[in-house]
Symmetry: C2
Subunit: 437 residues, 2 copies
């Protein structure tokens, strides 16, 4: 596909309007372009003819190239004016590349070393050149093979605490925050994907939905008729629509994390906007729990997974516990924002009351996170986008058994959130759900 | 004061930078300007020489002129680059006129007939020409004289339900709402006045604070040392900073309402932004309650105020009851927004669950409103800006007695919000506070 002029002179790509100068890159054309970007050319070394270019995009939305030269490699991500997975019938604005690079820059500021470095951003081409992360792999793929990542909890909690605290009203003045928020208000097309695919479609008949059939037909219908569940998910949707707590990543699952045993990087923040913090925290928890339940579909007598499942639940606990501790530490040491002004809490009684309020704040945030985690677990089984943790279980009965446990826990987490005051309550319920099977 | 070139060529007014073309208008210069605006000239009739111009601004921030011609009158509001009440030492951006006219236009759309018509807006001059409301007076002034406004409850509830519902996620798509929200993100200077003067300064030693002294010295100190109160008000401040529920007026007290016995108009939305709905509702309730308590300072044997106080409390109840009913009616009949999608609640069980959730939503909103009302009551007695309802009570002991009752009720409303599940609980507590005195 190439950009072209339509009959009335408007430039289009895939039938969709694109700005003057936009052109989807190909393996053939990319090297010549990059050779004109001095920072990138220097990073790769040699000349364009020496560079190996591979299109590797296995995601749903974009073109992704890996370019390797004598001195180093880069990853190149270019937005298409539509959803790659679906095609031109589902347009999606190129501006997502703009929001992604803005989010990456903000994340790098608040969580240095935990996102890829940006070498170049081309707004017209909607193209970002980043350092090549190698020998990193997508964490989800490692977890399916039961690989442990001892640095993950430390890294992801630092990332979340740093980015969420650092862009909140606890760290920013209202003027700073509103200015940043306004910049991300335009990312509505990406937000709408979340609003539809996570908070709405799994709970109604929708063309996009799919699930393991016929095994899950009953529970899918049950969920669509579950009024308490639909009220609960709609309340979360309203929170997603209206609560601008911090710059959230917006798609923080284990497929957005690249890892080695020593290094962890968070990628792909194109869904970023000012939203509820619990959405990011819940996404991490949900994807760990999905993996936990999926292991029963991968275990064999030669490769039992129970001790790995223990590791996954320990990591789940560590995610909340570590995040909570780090967020509170940032708050106690760097409350530079307009919320909870320090001047009000300088006396002894004030300091004690503030400390109690900080704990209460974290408890409220945890309750949000449990709800959002549940929403994420359900959408990955009954909605459009599924997780390979479960999809790669070939025996459909076995897969459906894992999925059913995950759905049952999620339904209870969402509707009866008060029963999950701690992360240990969540992991205990997960364990119990599996033991009961 | 006139705009002038400073030595380095930058245009200034009152020592502050202003855009090219900005010039504060005077009684002498205004008519000539208006004669060049055909819609205004036609409205006034005759020629500029026939028009009577009076500067009448008794507010805190702006120039306000009344211009009367043979055919009709207009009100002209022009922003100054500083707070008029304080002077050039407190700069305030001219952009507030821009936000005010945007808010007026949105309000006119959702609450037709309840705001003044705009005849002309000049962005460079930060100047709005509106229809002259006459024989309207500021509602607060009428209430001090115990004038009843039989149409007020009907009008203010229509205004609030229409504007708050119509700009919320219940009525707008996320894309529509985010676009509107982004436009108002720039109004941070005005928001900061609220954040400081309402949510922060009354609870600490601050130069701006003033109160009836020495009578209230004790309770002012008590409030500054009241950790539970400071936590509660800070939680409300966070909500004000982060919850973008709807386009709120932002300053909806009885001084922003112009009335006759038959007509009610809401003016002065320069504090408008996307914030928590309860802030507007709470502002109305607070200012009615302040008036209620103030009447004991105005009553004389010849002019007892008890039956007026009954009217004020009945109006207070009507404000919430009427708002709730109208907001719910709008929701049930016009849920065109992305929140609580109708498709999820089409079956009988869904419809019933949605109905219960709508009631629960209103209960949560009421709890917010009680908190914000309390914050508004306290700031008007211990902060910078006071209400003439109380200020006009000349006997300081008598005034302080009224103020103390108002403060005690507000403190309980803010800290023990669960004790006020209904508006009747609020009015009963107000009555009891007065009876106990």
């Amino acid at each position: 596909m190439v950009a072209r002029e339509s009959t009335d002179g408007e430039r289009t790509a895939g039938g969709l309007p694109v700005p003057e100068g936009y052109e989807p890159k190909s393996e053939a054309s990319l090297a010549a372009y990059l050779s004109g970007v001095s920072a990138v050319a220097a990073h790769l070394g040699g000349a364009a003819g020496d560079w190996r270019v591979r299109e590797v995009g296995d995601g749903n939305l974009n073109l992704v190239f890996i370019v390797e030269g004598p001195a180093g490699g880069v990853a190149v991500k270019q937005a298409l004016p539509y959803v790659r997975l679906v095609g031109e019938s589902w347009p999606l604005p190129l501006s997502r590349a703009h929001f992604e690079q803005m989010a990456l820059a903000t994340e790098a500021q608040h969580a240095p070393g935990l996102v890829p470095d940006i070498l170049h951003y081309d707004q017209t081409l909607a193209l970002i050149v980043m350092e090549l992360l190698q020998p990193h792999i997508i964490m989800r793929q490692g977890m399916i093979k039961a690989v442990r990542y001892p640095g993950f909890v430390e890294a992801i909690t630092t990332f979340m605490a740093g980015t969420l605290f650092g862009t909140s009203d606890l760290a920013l003045t209202a003027e700073e925050k509103k200015a940043a928020m306004a910049e991300f208000c335009g990312n509505t097309a990406l937000c709408k994907i979340t609003e539809d695919l996570i908070f709405t479609e799994p709970y109604r008949i929708a063309e996009n939905n799919r699930w393991t059939t016929p095994q899950l037909d009953g529970i899918a219908r049950e969920f669509r008729e579950d009024a308490a569940l639909k009220v609960a998910v709609s309340r979360l949707k309203l929170k997603f629509l209206s609560e601008a707590q911090a710059l959230i990543h917006g798609d923080l699952h284990t497929g957005s994390v690249m890892v080695t045993e020593d290094d962890t990087r968070v990628i792909d923040p194109e869904f970023a906007f000012y939203g509820p913090m619990g959405f990011d925290i819940g996404a991490v928890i949900a994807n760990l729990l999905i993996n936990y339940f999926s292991q029963d579909g991968h275990a064999t007598p030669e490769d039992p997974r129970e001790s790995y499942q223990d590791w996954v639940l320990a990591a789940t606990e560590g995610v909340w516990t570590g995040f909570r501790a780090k967020f509170l530490a940032l708050w106690r040491n760097g409350a530079t924002g307009d919320a909870y002004p320090a001047a009000l809490f300088a006396d002894t009684a004030g300091a004690e009351a503030l400390k109690a309020e900080q704990e209460a704040y974290m408890d409220r945030l945890f309750t949000d996170s449990v709800g959002f985690a549940a929403a994420k677990m359900i959408r990955r089984i009954l909605g459009l986008a599924h997780n390979i943790d479960l999809e790669w279980i070939e025996d459909l009965d076995r897969r459906a058994a894992c999925e059913t446990r995950c759905l049952r826990l999620a339904r209870d987490m969402m509707v009866n959130r008060a029963n999950y005051p701690t992360i240990e309550a969540v992991t205990a319920a997960a364990r119990k759900m599996r033991d009961a099977a």
